[in-house]
Each structure stands twice: as C-alpha cells, then as structure tokens.
C-alpha cells in the first residue's frame, strides 16, 4: 500500500465510527486523488475503491429499506444464507459476479454487518444480493457504503436457521420451488409431480452453520460435505420424509440442499403441503403428489 500512495497528490482523512461489537479505535477513511488525475482512491474499512476522476461527490447516499432472504423473499435470515437488500441509490450500474470467494466490494459498493464485510453477488441501483456472514447472529446492524456515502444503520435479526426454498420461473408454468427429482434431474411441477418412492433434492438457503464450518464467501465443499448443524425436519402431507442429507450444496455459495425420500404412505393430491422445519422456523410449499 505504501508504494501505491506514492502517486497520490492529496489525501483527505475522515473519521468513521468503530466496528460494532468491537473495542477497536475509530477508523480513518481516506479519499485521495491520483497525481495523474485519472482516478480517486477511496480507502474504507472494507477495502478500497477507485472512482473516476469526474466522480460526482454530490451523489445521494444509499438507503436500505428492507432485507429478505434471496430464496423466497420472506424475512427469515440465517447465517451463511443468501439475502437480498432492497433500497435506493445503491449502485449506478448492474453488476453480478461469479468470482470465488465472493468479493466484499462490487461496483464501488461495500456492505458490512456489525462491521464485518459481507460477500456480494450482485449490485444494482435498488437491489443487492449477498451472503449473510456465518459470524452474524441475533440482532445485527447493516450498513452500505457507496461512492454516494454511507447508509443509515439498518437493524435486523439473524436467526440460527430460517429455511427458505428457492423459486424458479418456468415459461408457461410460472414460479415453482426448486425441488428436483433425483432420478431424472427435473424440477417437480404439477405436470411433473412428485411420485411416492421418489428421491427429491430441495434447494434452499438459510440452514445456518455447518460442520465443517465453511468460510463466508466460499462455496460448499464436496469432500467432506458441509452438513447443517441444526438438522431440519421435512414432512409431506403430514408424513415424515427421511432426510438423507441436509447441508451446503457443493460448489455453491450460500445455497443448501436437502435430500429426502418420499415414502409410499405419503398422501396424494393436487396440493400436498411440504413443510421444512428447523429450529422453530418453518417454510411450507404446496406440491402435487401421485402414486
């Protein structure tokens, strides 16, 4: 860092609040124009961003309006789960990343929760998709930093487990939960119903901490698999489905999967409730089941 500062013509220091939950001292943010007048370097607690020379400092600061889980848009959030943050003046551009581990700053936007940097998958003017750090638990405070400034604190609650099934949009069908039949790899729908004795894979987020622990921003490992510490319970039409695996989906960040088999005693029907429960939280999906 010392070498890169050689080209800085003038640096302006500003004092920021200390990281929440720590006893650290205040952090000094530095905004420095390059000597070449090609860019402005903005050094913050979560890293540095390079702003264009004609960056307009009068851009409005971001406003966080809601935080939901990214799977089904409900309010339940768990450590390691994917989240969607909605608001205004987030980022002037839409950018998604497939970089691994996930970056903690994307398109000059930087999220923190209790001062911890939050891995980001996608930014846009009104939405950011990110992964809630595994370290976050209970009452947390989220802040967003952009070139426009720093958002107000947004307080929310992170639960130990908050299962939420991802939704997939299928042309002609609409939005359906991402539940895949293992034998053919196809999503189950009303036209492609669950059959008794099927083995299903439910893709979801919010199953929380795993064993072994997976670093925030990193994909789930395949060997050994990262098993959810808080085991979920799955029922279909009131019948308990044996869970063969519940944990992170290998190769995916913030995505979990539950593998279950459907007993022959499962009731059939056009709309049979599938309930996934974990740590007092549950989510319900209606599925068509046939023999």
């Amino acid at each position: 860092m010392g070498g890169s500062t050689m080209g800085l013509s003038l640096a302006t220091s500003m004092i920021e609040a200390p990281i929440l939950g720590t006893s650290a001292n205040s952090f000094t943010r530095t905004v420095a124009p390059l000597y070449s007048q090609n860019a402005i370097v903005n050094l913050t607690v979560s890293g540095f961003t390079v702003l264009p020379w004609n960056f307009d400092a009068s851009v409005a600061p971001p406003k966080i309006q809601s935080i939901v889980n990214a799977a089904d848009g409900t309010s339940g959030i768990a450590p390691g789960g994917l989240i969607s943050i909605y608001g205004q003046q987030f980022s002037p551009v839409n950018i998604a990343t497939s970089q691994l581990p996930l970056p903690t700053a994307l398109a000059d936007s930087c999220l923190t929760v209790n001062g911890l940097p939050v891995p980001i998958l996608f930014v846009s003017p009104t939405q950011i998709n990110a992964q809630m750090p595994f370290e976050a638990q209970g009452n947390v405070t989220m802040m967003l930093r952009t070139p426009g400034g720093v958002s107000d604190n947004y307080n929310t609650v992170v639960l130990p487990g908050a299962p939420s099934v991802f939704q997939a949009a299928i042309q002609g069908v609409g939005t359906v939960p991402t539940i895949v039949r293992s034998s053919d790899g196809e999503i189950v729908t009303a036209a492609n119903p669950v059959h008794t004795k099927d083995t299903l894979t439910v893709y979801l987020t919010g199953l929380g901490a795993t064993n072994p622990a997976v670093p925030t921003g990193m994909p789930g490992p395949s060997n050994p698999l990262a098993v959810s510490i808080l085991a979920p319970q799955v029922t279909l039409g009131g019948v308990n489905l044996p869970v063969q695996y519940a944990g992170m989906a290998p190769g995916e960040v913030g995505v979990y999967q539950i593998n279950v088999t459907v007993p022959s005693s499962t009731p059939t029907g056009l709309s049979v409730p599938l309930i996934i429960s974990q740590g007092g939280m549950n989510t319900t999906i209606q599925l068509r089941v046939v023999d």
Binding site: E186, A191, V290
Partner: protein, 212 residues
C-alpha cells in the same frame, strides 16, 4: 380338506358335464367419448383417451341352452388426451380390464349363425405411461399423469358368432365398456370442474373362438 374336495366336486361336476368350454382372442378398436373440463380462469378443454387398438382374450363356457359366460381380459394401447381449440396435450397410456360377461344367444349351439348379447362387470386399470415434463400444454385445466387409476367396469355388448365346423367360430361384436372417468391419470387441475358422467369405451372387434 377332504370335505372341501367333495363339496367342490359336487358343485363343479354337474356344471362341467353340462358345459362346453371355449377360448378365444380378438382385435379391434377403442373409441372413447370425452368429458369437458371447465376452468373459470384457464378455459375449457375436452378430456378423453385417444382412439386405440384393443386386444382381447377370453375363457368362456356355454351351457347346453342359450346362456353362456366369459371371463375376459382386454388390453388397449391408447393415449391420454386433452384438447382445446388448436392446442392438444397427449400422453402415452394404456388400459387393462378384466371382467366377466354373461351371454345370451338367440340361436342354439348347433346353429351356424348365433347372434348374442352380453353384459357383465369387472375392473379396469387406466395407466399413464408417457414421460413427464415440467410443462404440459393445457396444464392449468388438466394434468395428464404417469400413474394408475383402478376403476369399476360395466360391460354391455352384442355380436354374432359364425360357426365353422363344430369347434371354430368367427365372432363380430361390439362392446361398450363403461367406467368412472379416470381422474387420477387425467386429473382436473385446481379450480377445474368436470362435466361428470361415465367414460364410454366403444369397442368393435373381430375374434376367433375355439370350442374345447
């Protein structure tokens, strides 16, 4: 055990002595009526099974008089069908039925031409055998499904037997196999109402029978 054997002999022997046994097989076509599936949001569709090929085999007994009976098995290679306007959804399927029919002949066993009528009952299994996919045309109205539906069967029909010699007979016949609509394999979706009534399966058939 000895008592049961004696009882069976006493019951069966007179019947066996007085009857001629017959086996036969035939082929024909299956022609179904349809039901209307009505959905307030998605519209209406005709639900039915497609015209298909029927194979049938039976074991019959004819009494010395004009009465007879047949235990019969029918297999139909057909498909499940849902259509509305120019849109049609189709799904491979078949049916199997086992039923016992009582026959009344209008001529004696020695006659070369023997018109008959038949009526009986049994069971029929409708089976969807196609490959399911996440999307199916008209799925908001009805769902063609890979599963089985076991229903009751009522059979009525008639035909003519042409005797060639003392053992071989050609049969031309038509049956109406009536059953409740198989709503497990052709399932009305949420909010869809069916027009109700029984499913009619009209089966004209040509067959050969051999008297044992």
């Amino acid at each position: 055990m000895k008592h049961i054997s004696v009882l069976l002999f006493l019951v069966c022997a007179p019947a066996a002595m007085a009857q001629k046994w017959e086996v036969g097989a035939g082929v024909g076509g299956a022609f179904y009526n349809s039901q209307t599936f009505s959905n307030a949001v998605a519209g209406n569709a005709n639900a039915s099974l497609a015209t298909g090929v029927v194979a049938s085999a039976w074991l019959g007994n004819n009494s010395q008089g004009r009465w007879g009976g047949e235990l019969r098995y029918d297999y139909e290679n057909t498909s499940l069908k849902l259509s509305s306007g120019s849109t049609t959804a189709s799904f491979a399927g078949d049916t199997q039925a086992i039923h016992y029919d009582v026959l009344y002949h209008f001529a004696s066993q020695e006659a070369s031409v023997r018109p008959f009528v038949a009526a009986g009952a049994g069971i029929k299994v409708f089976q969807g055998t196609g490959k399911e996919s996440v999307y199916q045309p008209l799925q908001n109205i009805g769902l063609l499904t890979k599963t089985n539906d076991l229903t009751a069967l009522v059979s009525v029909g008639g035909g003519v037997k042409f005797n060639f010699g003392s053992r071989i007979q050609l049969r031309l016949e038509v049956h109406d196999y009536m059953s409740p609509f198989p709503i497990k394999v052709i399932a009305p979706n949420q909010g869809t109402k069916t027009s109700g009534g029984w499913l009619m399966d009209f089966v004209p058939m040509a067959a050969l029978g051999i008297t044992l």
